[in-house]
Subunit: 336 residues, 2 copies
């Protein structure tokens, strides 16, 4: 079996470390691992299997000899360095929003649109965390019943904002419990025992970029004109994004019909038992791979409406796992 | 000015105590305060202004001589005792769901339907917390533009489940920070650093009673056939409910038009500044009276859609404050 030289840009971040763990856990055929990061993190030693690897400073010259580069160091670093990596011959799987909406860049969730990897030009985009888990749940429903519109409200974990945000959640919570005032440093508002009513930067239309990512990325990945309206909210959860999703179909769909379609769908676990009050929640599913769906019920306000509740580990399916599944799909399809 | 003998059924609960504080803060004309509670809490001494009052055990004989009874001891106690109180001549303002949907019981949010108090028969219902704040924001929009449908996802604070739930939030959070496993006692699942994907008991249709309360109560208070679909979620916030609300109108409505209508509406504060990233959030508004609205923006998925974000102190506008505003409205309208 062919083995690959794998680079990780942003190797010391939450997602970078999760990518390294996941490569190992899934036995991805790694010949050599090359962790790259900013000057600040260069020199750090990381473990990969029984190897110790030293993090190198990333620059335009870092990419020679790398077969697959996972980029998760943020949009501006990707904009700076990913074109150099592509020129150097890497196949880049970029976890940032920098290139996602470019026509010549496939945006891929393998359960949904692995075929889009064909004719890639060296650069593949990994979707935003909240979109990745959503489309895994939507795809089987859309294939069966045709989705006409989505209204999504998210309950997003702090790990989506990185290492330092998770530290801030815990530190602020300790401060709050001891009666101290918390001063936000990483997140824009206090997060301990609070919800923050926006994620990202504001656009002209009053939405945040996080919200419009969902609107645009759903369309591109699903390859369907599905109008999507998102409200993205940060909650004091360390890891695991939840989504309250209202779907309008082209036809009436019962909860039972939806469950039949979702049961056994790829990448998905149905956890929907009102009698046992058993539904997915972030604390339980954090650290696992699947996308979980529950609270399936007909919309009492619309004849063709249905509600679902979608939860997944945003560092896994929302980031690292999906990126590696893209690489696996490239290998399986002989596209690398 | 006439003064009233005021009874509080459930005087030692979170809402009961908030009612006592609010009566005093708003200078409600109280001649005498009679706190009532279960045998377990009887004998507790409470402060009302410069008076000390002893909590008495509530029973069918407790209500003679009481002019206004605020009932907030839970649905089953209200079902048991409120009929006795009405027979004894009290005007009862009931904070539970026991009688809300009865035709002869007005369900009132004074900013919205104070007129419904006319012809009351001694029993007035206070709506569920998440409905009360919602209709304050919806009423001016409905009057101006006609609402056709609502899709609501809530981010509900733990105080809505009472004293012991708030204690559980703090205790579990301390346990989680020190690496201990939290065992839920009051809430149905762990709440520390988690979201709980349901509130209340499950009905045949897959919704919880908490969710269907919103569906039914919105119609009754607004006196309009507005189909409403709710998803009610508990978040690790001590106090202050937030709601992500998607509204479909009979016509296109711009964010600017909505802001004009909402600015200065009774009981409402507009806090909607994307440039300063200033929107309402529970930590900041807990302990205040108004309903706050922000994140107003056109729905990118529907030509007549609009999103708003509604936050209020669920113990105040969601419970105690609204109950006392009902009493004030009864006095002002000479209905008591």
């Amino acid at each position: 079996m062919k083995k690959y030289v794998v680079g990780i840009l942003g190797a010391t971040g939450l997602v970078g470390r999760e990518i390294i763990n996941t490569l190992q856990a899934r036995n991805f055929p790694v010949e050599k691992l090359i962790p790259l990061a900013s000057a600040r993190s260069a020199g750090t030693v990381q473990t990969f299997g029984d190897q110790s690897v030293t993090v190198q400073q990333a620059n335009a010259e870092s990419f020679k000899g790398i077969d697959i580069l996972f980029a998760s160091a943020g949009g501006s670093i990707s904009r700076d360095l990913v074109p150099d990596a592509v020129k150097a011959g890497c196949v880049v799987i970029d976890n940032t929003s920098a290139f996602r909406m470019q026509d010549n860049v496939p945006l891929v969730v393998p359960e949904v649109n692995a075929h889009a990897l064909k004719n890639h030009q060296g650069l593949i985009a990994n979707p935003n965390c909240s979109t990745a888990q959503l489309v895994v749940a939507l795809k089987p429903l859309h294939d069966a019943f045709t989705i006409k519109r989505l209204v999504v409200s998210t309950y997003q974990a702090v790990s989506g904002a990185g290492n330092k945000a998770v530290e801030e959640l815990y530190m602020q919570t300790e401060q709050a419990l001891s009666g101290q005032q918390a001063q936000p440093q990483v997140l824009p508002l206090p997060i301990a025992f609070n919800v923050i009513p926006f994620i990202g930067s504001f656009l002209e239309n009053g939405y945040t970029d996080e919200e419009m990512k969902m609107t645009h990325e759903v369309r591109k990945i699903m390859e369907a004109e599905i109008p999507t309206c998102a409200t993205c909210i940060r909650v004091p959860v360390a890891n695991g994004h939840s989504e309250s999703v209202n779907i309008e179909f082209a036809q009436p769909v019962t909860a039972e019909q939806a469950r039949e379609v979702l049961a056994g769908a790829p990448g998905l676990v149905l956890r929907d038992d009102p009698q046992l009050r058993y539904f997915p929640y972030p604390q339980e599913i954090s650290g696992t791979d699947p996308v979980y769906v529950g609270r399936i019920r007909r919309d009492v306000s619309h004849p063709c409406g249905l509600n679902i509740w979608v939860v997944a580990d945003n560092l896994r399916k929302g980031a690292a796992l999906n990126a590696i599944q893209i690489a696996e799909s490239l290998v399986a399809q002989n596209l690398i």
